[in-house]
């Protein structure tokens, strides 16, 4: 497939480089074949599927949190919305599972717009705190809205008419692949430049023609939709969902963590973050669940203090050892604001982030 693309000299859109495309396709094929070739155990196989979903969700969170710089502490609201819409549809209609995911996603995206359109006028901390409110309010409503969410007893999905847990690996992979493409497109196309401009200085961006409201709304909608689809995926995966889990504050935090650990604002960092998150979740916290919050809190503190670009930042340090220099504008992918750190401009992503793709494997 890659060879035909090369031989016919297909013109790629400006945001997609041949190198990135090749890496992407190779990675996709490898991951597609991995279970059959490697014969992972059931447990690892299933966890890998779940990891793909968290990667997708983390990347989608990062569009808002990293590309535009609007940190959301309330993405569980969309995750839960998508999950419950999908679950309800699965229970009461004969729609195929992927259609329920999509509808759930779109509903979640629309819900995100509903609260996001007014609150996105706020910048930075103000927006973030507002999202805490969104998350809490949604959680309350969802918990008490028994007709829709089943209240504290949750919803069980009918077994048999969805994909099996084993197949979820590949559906997770497709989901991730789509999200990776969108991530690239959002950052590398001209839209990406506009988003960075908004992140740097909303007013100045508006004064050179960028419409901040529109682009922030679009990004929030996309982000909410993908996280909603992830919710649907999660519902199918678990075959049971309850609002206390889906809408929980901890759920929202998990998206933040995945983004921050992986490298907020980088193109693929959150995918790495998701792997770390799952590893901690499954292998460490399984034995010490009571340390959940504190461990993640400490992780946040350490990342912010010592390597604000998370794993991507670490990789870039390594890369610089070997003389790989990222492009200057790549620094904008990071989280600290321009105004705040004028003299520390080149912690950056650029070329390095293409390579981070290899991280998840």
């Amino acid at each position: 497939m890659t060879t035909t693309a090369q031989s016919r000299r297909v013109r790629l859109p400006g945001w997609l480089s041949m190198r990135a495309l090749i890496i992407f396709v190779v990675a996709l094929v490898l991951l597609y074949l991995a279970p059959t070739v490697l014969g992972l155990g059931d447990y690892l196989h299933n966890i890998a599927g779940l990891t793909f979903m968290f990667m997708a969700a983390g990347l989608a969170w990062n569009w808002l949190g990293g590309y535009v710089g609007q940190i959301s502490f309330g993405h569980a609201a969309m995750f839960g919305t998508g999950g419950f819409v999908a679950a309800r549809l699965t229970i009461s209609s004969g729609l195929p599972f992927w259609a329920t995911w999509l509808i759930g996603g779109v509903v979640a995206g629309l819900y995100a717009l509903l609260w996001g359109h007014p609150t996105l006028r706020l910048r930075g901390p103000y927006f973030s705190i507002a999202t805490i409110g969104v998350g809490e309010a949604t959680r309350l409503v969802a918990t008490y809205w028994t007709d829709f969410t089943g209240g504290s007893s949750g919803l069980s999905l009918p077994i048999g008419n969805g994909p099996t847990k084993f197949q979820m690996y590949w559906y997770g992979l497709y989901l991730l692949a789509a999200v990776v493409v969108i991530s690239y497109w959002l950052r590398r196309s001209r839209i990406g430049l506009g988003l960075l401009a908004i992140k740097e200085d909303v007013e100045a961006a508006s004064d050179v023609g960028v419409n901040p409201t529109f682009y922030q709304d679009v990004v929030l909608f996309l982000s909410g939709t993908v996280v909603g689809v992830c919710g649907g995926f999660y519902a199918s995966y678990q075959a049971f969902i309850d609002p206390l889990d889906m809408f929980s504050f901890e759920r929202s935090i998990s998206f933040v963590l995945i983004g921050v650990i992986g490298g907020i604002g980088t193109i693929l960092g959150p995918a790495m973050g998701a792997v770390v998150y799952i590893v901690i979740q499954e292998f460490l916290l399984a034995s010490y669940p009571q340390l959940y919050l504190g461990l993640y809190g400490l992780l946040l503190i350490f990342v912010i203090l010592f390597e604000p670009l998370g794993l991507s930042g670490l990789l870039m340090r390594v890369g610089r050892r070997f003389g790989i220099r990222p492009s200057p504008s790549a620094a904008a992918g990071g989280m600290s604001s321009a105004a705040a750190v004028p003299d520390q401009p080149t912690a950056s992503v650029g070329a390095g982030s293409t390579d981070t793709k290899d991280g998840p494997r």
């Binding site: 430049l193 506009g194 004064d207 419409n211 504008s329 904008a332």
Partner: protein, 274 residues
Amino acid sequence: MSALLVGESVCKYFGGLRAVDDVSFTLGEGEILGLIGPNGAGKTTLFSVAAGSVPATRGRVLLDGKQVSGKSGHRSVHQGICRTHQIVRPFARLSVLDNVLVGHHYGRPGPGHGRPVDHAMGILDFIGLADRAHQLPGELTLAGRKRLEVARALATGPRVLLLDEVVAGLTPVEAQRFVELIRQIRDRGTSIVMIEHVMHAVMGVSDRVMVLDHGRQIAEGTPEQVVKHPQVIEAYLGRDDDEPNDHDEPTHGDGPMGAGDPASGQHAKEKPDA
């Protein structure tokens, strides 16, 4: 000369403060209009209204007969009016080239849109920053950042460019180069309104000059007419409640505004950036 930009009784009040009070003006095609006045006269506010960044309290600004005030900033840009900022606001973590590309991609659709990078480099070349294209704005001098501010605005393809104190704070040599640049921009077909405190700069390059004081328009005319205007002299020097002016007060011939830069104190804040 047909009027390209028209202000009709523009008022902008901040609570009780009349920052801009009933100001009308016109700008012809290919003209440079100087806008001067003491600190706090309302010059920047007038720009903000004209560029759509803030809504007018009353009155409106028309570009080619279509209203540009009272919309959001980006829509005015698409109509062909773009402003620079008195305190430069580059996108600090985007390279110089990317800064200009933002203007190019999101500005008024026009020629050169097939090849964004070529177009942006062309503008940087013209403005004298081509060799800095891959640096960050923070690595430029103040003069460089002011050039970048202008380059980014030019990249939006404006018909009217609003320049807010682009010369102030520069060394005389840099200032001279900048004035030359402004003239060239005009010659390439962009009409300009420029706010400036550096008098010889604004007087030398403007076709007409408008003077604001306490939000009101107190004089308008050719540079020669304006410097002789009694109210202008009073606004700059005359009143008791004003703080005493610089030591090198106007000498003969140079008009009342011979004194250097009345706003020099205020600009201190934008110099030590990095």
